[in-house]
């Protein structure tokens, strides 16, 4: 039996023949959100472990990326809204069932917190910086006293931020490619990995680099494991999920997914970091930039490919 569907009287811009509601703005934001979640998580974690003097890049210098990335990310999210003047409606209600509502509230807390964290280290990050006003100096010493509280708050907030970027997509049961529970942990791992990679770019001490590349290596392996699981889950899934998997395995996004995400973004940096750990000299900038590129392209692939998958028509 062959079935063919003809649709008449229906031509919705941006929806037919496939969804084009979310573009580069969302993929960029998911990347920047995951990146800042990773950086803030490691900063808070190693601060609480008392490594302030050994891991200067992790706790101090690299954290200036976090507020910048969050602000740019929030900007791209705002650009994406089509009814912009009403964005404040996000903050008149809490919707437990909507991941986007969770995300909006977490961003409202973590963005100022990341700015305060950088402010508390501002004189150490920029030695030539001179806080001109006495109230600013007083405020900074107040922040320095409360760093521990900030770190304790940052850990759960950064984890929620990292997981939410994935849960946001997996909550949509209409898009079979996104609708799997592993996307939350997968995006969190990828975010932590890109965070560790960007810390490596800032780090100058051998000790710190060794720890961070070990962490990054572990995260890359976890990510590969989770991606395998995601594909296995779809392979054992229903018809719509099988069709969704085809886009990644033998469809429009196969080359982008396997070449840029799996090989260049995960396998090659893993090999490079391993050779570095064994003792060969590899410029750290290469695996770090590859991981960052892989993280960005992974999100672009997921956003674009996910919108190709649907139930009807």
């Amino acid at each position: 039996m062959q079935e063919e569907i003809f649709i008449s009287g229906r031509h919705l811009p941006k929806i037919d023949p496939f969804l084009e509601i979310w573009h580069w703005q969302i993929s960029t934001y998911l990347f920047l959100g995951g990146l800042s979640a990773g950086i803030l998580f490691f900063a808070a974690l190693f601060y609480l472990l008392g490594k302030e003097n050994d891991m200067k890049a992790t706790i101090k210098t690299a954290t200036i990326i976090a507020p910048l990335a969050l602000i740019i990310g929030l900007g791209t999210l705002f650009i994406d809204l089509s009814h912009k003047l009403y964005f404040w409606r996000l903050y008149t209600t809490v919707r437990i069932t909507s991941p986007m509502s969770w995300g909006a509230w977490v961003l409202l807390l973590i963005t100022p917190l990341s700015i305060l964290w950088v402010l508390s280290y501002s004189t150490e990050i920029f030695p030539s910086l001179n806080l001109k006003f006495s109230w600013l100096k007083n405020f900074q010493s107040f922040l320095i006293k409360n760093r521990k509280l900030m770190a304790i708050a940052l850990i759960p907030l950064s984890i929620i931020l990292g997981v939410y970027t994935g849960i946001l997509l997996s909550a949509f049961n209409a898009r079979p490619l996104w609708n799997n529970a592993i996307l939350g942990p997968l995006f969190l791992t990828s975010g932590l990995s890109t965070g560790a990679a960007s810390i490596l770019l800032f780090s100058k001490s051998h000790f710190e680099r060794k720890i961070m590349s070990k962490i990054d290596l572990a995260l890359i392996f976890i990510e590969l494991f989770l991606i395998t699981h995601m594909l296995m889950g779809m392979y054992a899934g229903s018809q719509v999920q099988l069709e969704a998997m085809q886009i990644l395995v033998s469809g429009d996004y196969t080359v982008m997914f396997f070449v840029f995400v799996i090989i260049l973004g995960l396998l090659i940096p893993a090999v490079l970091e391993l050779t570095e750990l064994i003792g060969f000299k590899v410029p750290i900038i290469i695996p770090s930039l590859l991981v960052l590129m892989g993280g960005l392209i992974f999100r672009i692939v997921m956003i674009n490919a996910g919108q190709l998958t649907r139930y009807l028509y």
Binding site: M1, I5, F6, L12, S82, H83, Y86, R89, A174, Y311
Partner: protein, 174 residues
């Protein structure tokens, strides 16, 4: 809502009536016709039907909406409040029927079952103009209503039941 696929001729009167009644912007629509051709000559089966928002009991658009602009009103109709909608697109992504669109003014729009007409005791525009009377609108919770009786007597199906949304538009089939 119950739609008889055996009576529908696919004339698109419902589509035009909806666009006129609800001032749907040009180039958009809240309902549409699908024609499913099954088999090949000489054994061909054609199913015609009018489709729209299914006003699901377990509506993913309402679940995913971050501001509560998408909500279910008394009686089970899913509506969007335009000045609570931020245009994030989450509901469009979450709808398995792809029944929502971004209005050129920015907010998200879709079929309302002509809520403004129902409040006055009238039928939705699409139902009232149908030349073959293939659409029936009523209360499925009332066991004696016309729609409930049709579902007792006839075989029916819903669209994408596997999406788990428990849709409220039933299609009568052979």
């Amino acid at each position: 809502m119950v739609i008889d696929t055996l009576k529908c001729v696919g004339c698109s009167d419902c589509v035009v009536a909806c666009q006129t009644e609800n001032n749907v912007p040009i180039g958009y629509c809240r309902d549409w016709i699908t024609e499913t051709v099954d088999g090949s000559y000489p054994k061909v089966d054609i199913e015609l039907k009018s489709e729209r928002c299914n006003h699901c009991n377990n509506a993913p658009c309402v679940r995913c909406c971050p501001t509560g602009a998408s909500h279910i009103v008394e009686g089970g109709i899913v509506l969007v409040t335009a000045d609570e909608c931020i245009g994030c697109g989450a509901c469009i992504e979450s709808c398995p029927y792809d029944a929502r669109y971004q209005h050129p003014d920015g907010y998200v729009d879709k079929c309302t079952f002509c809520h403004h007409r129902i409040e006055k005791g009238e039928l939705p525009a699409c139902v009232s103009v149908c030349p073959t009377k293939c659409m029936y609108f009523g209360d499925l919770d009332d066991p004696n209503s016309q729609v409930s009786n049709l579902l007792k007597e006839r075989k029916y199906k819903v669209l994408a039941p596997e999406a788990g949304t428990s849709p409220n538009i039933y299609y009568l089939i052979k």
